[in-house]
Symmetry: C2
Subunit: 235 residues, 2 copies
């Protein structure tokens, strides 16, 4: 697998994102996965507000999330069924604005994929929209897939056997977040100006439709549910 971040000029609010991407990436081989920073997608959709102060940001965090808990570090929120810091609202590389996540990132990923398949004349193309995520008890953020399109984000190994012919204990692999983590590391967080990244040879199955539900685990079985329930983040 080859992971290549792409340096770009600064993307302006409400610019044409597929055109911007095609301006910097002229062609890609079949079965490429393109990673796009959620910031670009938010700017594309004009999801910004001028920053006026802490109170405003807190109100936005509450409004943009299904559940929110204040912690010493940041707000721990559930946004679109995903654990996120501050409901994904971002101030870095935002030029004095707050950047909010678009309302339907899966539709954005699908639209990007449709436009870019045409521009690049490829059949199999994956698109991931990445944001950062904090792991429990870990210093530092890792990249996660806010949404994706064009490949199976979860590899289903149910029924597969291990090297001794025993049925596997682990049956699902979160490919979308694994790829997002690697690409986000390559893209950087500061002034690198690398909001795009290409993954070639990723071990994923390319498909036309994408089922956003596949990556969400049923809360009644989730390992973290007792924790989330204890602080009333989920009912």
């Amino acid at each position: 697998m080859k992971i290549t971040p792409v340096h770009t000029r600064i993307f302006k609010e409400k610019e044409d994102l597929p055109a911007f991407i095609a301006e910097h990436i002229v062609l890609v081989p079949e079965k490429t996965v393109l990673t796009v920073s959620s910031k670009l997608v938010a700017l594309w959709k004009g999801k910004t507000v001028p920053y006026t102060g802490r109170t405003q940001k807190e109100e936005l965090i509450r409004r943009e999330s299904q559940a929110a808990l204040q912690t010493p570090l940041a707000w721990l929120t559930i946004k679109d069924g995903m654990i996120m810091t501050n409901a994904g609202i971002d101030e870095s590389n935002a030029d004095g604005k707050l950047i909010l996540l678009p309302p339907d990132c899966y539709a954005c990923a699908q639209d990007l994929r449709t436009a870019l398949r045409q521009k690049w004349n490829v059949q199999d193309l994956g698109v991931i929209i990445t944001d950062s995520m904090i792991l429990p008890l870990r210093a530092g953020i890792i990249g996660a897939a806010v949404a994706y399109s064009g490949f199976e984000g979860v590899k289903d190994l149910r029924g597969r056997e291990d090297i001794f012919g025993k049925k596997l204990e682990v049956t699902l692999v979160d490919a979308a977040d694994s790829l997002a983590a690697a690409c986000a590391l390559a893209m950087g967080e500061a002034a690198e100006q690398q909001p795009l990244c290409l993954a070639e040879g990723a071990p994923v199955a390319f498909v036309d439709g994408t089922n956003p539900a596949e990556i969400k685990y049923p809360p009644q079985n989730d390992l973290y549910t007792p924790l989330l329930k204890a602080v009333k983040l989920i009912k």
Copy 2:
């Protein structure tokens, strides 16, 4: 960044792991990060017990973890200051045994690095020992770094600026887990027999010593602490 999983023969318990690795990987370029499945490290150190039943496995999970909580899916545990499923005890690819994590994975990573630097005649070499991790509300596992050696596992961006000259909000990047996630995806979970993986061109700083504390977030500030406290996983 190039990520290449390595196919191997089956590793036998208490075999010489550095020799096994050098048997399959003859040489690597400078600044390579080698990922090794925690299973190989556990077998190297002879950390297996014959499986006798569910009660035994539960007792081991409690004994091997600092805190444990039973959930419908598996045990949510804290092991070596890290959230792990079932205290890292594994039955897949274990040939009827339970495979436990070695007591000091950081020392194992350091020992592997020392031996392999010599065998491969390189200065800058990173080693990651990977296991799987479950993210909150996500289907499927991702790879995480149980331990590592030879590079800065956390990139510290404090004081760096964004593209508009504003101080960064995000200041720490968890490079070790990001690399582990990508490599684990490439290695696979079933009968691929790819317990090793090479990452070339990874955007990390190679160092001689490694500070295992850098990747652990102080619980008093951790975003997840209110959750972990609510179910008494941490005090």
